[in-house]
């Protein structure tokens, strides 16, 4: 088992003793070389989670470890780029990098100057004259030149046009491939995340709704279309058939919507699922998976747990 670069167990943060929780019960692991997307609406706790991992906020409950120690003891190994790339606007690019060199013991000056040159940014240009995409690239350079093991990026793709976005991603992926850095980045936009991340973490109301490898998560979910009233009517439950001959454990309705005389539900399955009478089942797309979890109508209630075995054994 590979060592985790970021390892959070039951992590939570409360902004004041009687105040609201920004994040609760967050268990999350990020190994080296993985790219993890943190997805959720504004106010879901994405920034809180990133700040906890960056050592900018203390964990009120649970634990958080970066390369085996508290984030505050690992600051030189953590590259954190806050939202909107807030750089000193009146400084020149080379001065921004100079400050980076001054503040970071592991600073790689060659990496920084090579990157800026490759991007075609003049070192003597003032930050205020750069485009949004260039500013994002300077901010990324600032964190990459730290040679971090953990890269934390808060909404790095917001406000980037498609070309700048592509250039930014190419830089980020290059860093992942070469140095095996683990990346945790937040986004409130779902589109195109599938081609960026290995794992996803869906946050809503300060809680992790879903976390894991995107391909595995798609395999363990189905979008099922059935008649209106389903899945509350028990007459047409889908059948789960275990692959290994053991008993079926069941399935969970995550969210359901009705439209055009049909119900469409996102369902989590333990095992291989066959469509029941009058039901069509398909593997969810990335968007269907994410939106299904963000769309839970009663976010504070556990989704209804259906136990197939008890249904089968119940007298008809």
């Amino acid at each position: 088992m590979t060592a985790q670069v970021l390892d959070c167990v039951g992590m939570g943060h409360r902004y004041s003793r009687r105040g609201p929780w920004g994040l609760r019960d967050c268990t999350l692991m990020v190994p080296a070389g993985r790219v993890v997307a943190l997805i959720g609406p504004n106010g879901a706790g994405k920034t809180t989670l990133l700040h906890l991992a960056a050592g900018l906020l203390p964990a009120t409950e649970g634990s958080v470890r970066v390369a085996g120690a508290r984030p505050a003891r690992r600051l030189e190994r953590i590259g954190f780029a806050p939202q909107g790339a807030p750089l000193w606007p009146h400084l020149r690019v080379r001065d921004v990098l100079g400050i980076g060199a001054h503040l970071n013991p592991r600073w790689d000056a060659t990496l920084a100057s090579d990157r800026i040159a490759k991007l075609g940014i003049a070192p003597r240009a003032r930050v205020s004259t750069l485009s949004g995409g260039q500013r994002a690239q300077v901010a990324l350079t600032l964190v990459l030149a730290k040679r971090p093991e953990l890269l934390l990026l808060d909404e790095p793709l917001a406000n980037l046009d498609p070309i700048a976005r592509r250039a930014f991603l190419a830089s980020m992926f290059e860093a992942c491939t070469h140095s095996g850095v683990a990346v945790l980045f937040s986004s409130h936009v779902v589109a195109e995340l599938e081609r960026i991340c290995d794992d996803l973490v869906v946050l809503a109301d300060g809680r992790v709704r879903l976390a894991g490898d995107i391909d595995r998560l798609r395999r363990t979910h189905r979008v099922i279309t059935g008649p209106v009233g389903w899945p509350t009517t028990t007459a047409t439950q889908p059948a789960t058939v275990p692959n290994d001959g053991s008993q079926a454990r069941g399935w969970q309705v995550i969210s359901a919507r009705q439209a055009a005389g049909r119900t469409t539900a996102l369902v989590r399955i333990d095992t291989h699922l066959l469509a029941g009478p009058g039901l069509d089942a398909a593997e969810p797309t990335f968007d269907e998976l994410v939106l299904g979890y963000l769309d839970q109508h009663h976010p504070d209630q556990e989704p209804s747990q259906q136990d197939l075995r008890s249904q089968v054994e119940a007298p008809a």
Binding site: V35, F173, R195, D198, T285, F286
Partner: protein, 135 residues
């Protein structure tokens, strides 16, 4: 060589795998030929390098390609799937079928739908296996 269809709903690594298989079937990729490097694909598509590596790994698992340490990924000397060109009888039969469907007024879209139905037909399952799964 790769294109991604964001709207298809098919996982990206499976899209990449399908495109390599297609190129092999059509004979556009020859045994021993090198696939684009992971870095080239990443630069062209702005896609996660782990996803490309996963597609190549799965293709290697299927015996279609071979990775050589430090050199890249290459089409296997004798990929298990035969190329379409090597199956002239099947292609001729399909061409006759298309001609007939066209005569009956079917459009390409409808023919694809029919083919998809036929592929899912349980009675066709064993035949598909017998022909080596060439679709």
């Amino acid at each position: 060589m790769f294109r991604l269809d964001a709207g298809s709903g098919v996982p990206i690594y499976r899209q990449l795998m399908a495109q390599v298989r297609q190129e092999l079937l059509l004979g556009r990729l020859q045994p021993g030929e090198q696939l684009p490097t992971v870095k080239e694909v990443v630069d062209a598509l702005a896609v996660n390098p782990n996803t490309v590596a996963k597609a190549y790994r799965e293709l290697e698992h299927e015996g279609l390609v071979r990775s050589r340490q430090g050199l890249g990924t290459f089409v296997a000397a004798s990929p298990p799937a035969a190329t379409v060109a090597a199956r002239p009888a099947l292609l001729a039969a399909l061409t006759r079928w298309v001609r007939r469907a066209r005569a009956e007024g079917l459009q390409a879209e409808e023919m694809r739908a029919l083919l998809a139905v036929a592929l899912d037909e349980p009675s066709a399952a064993s035949d598909e296996q017998a022909s080596g799964g060439v679709a």
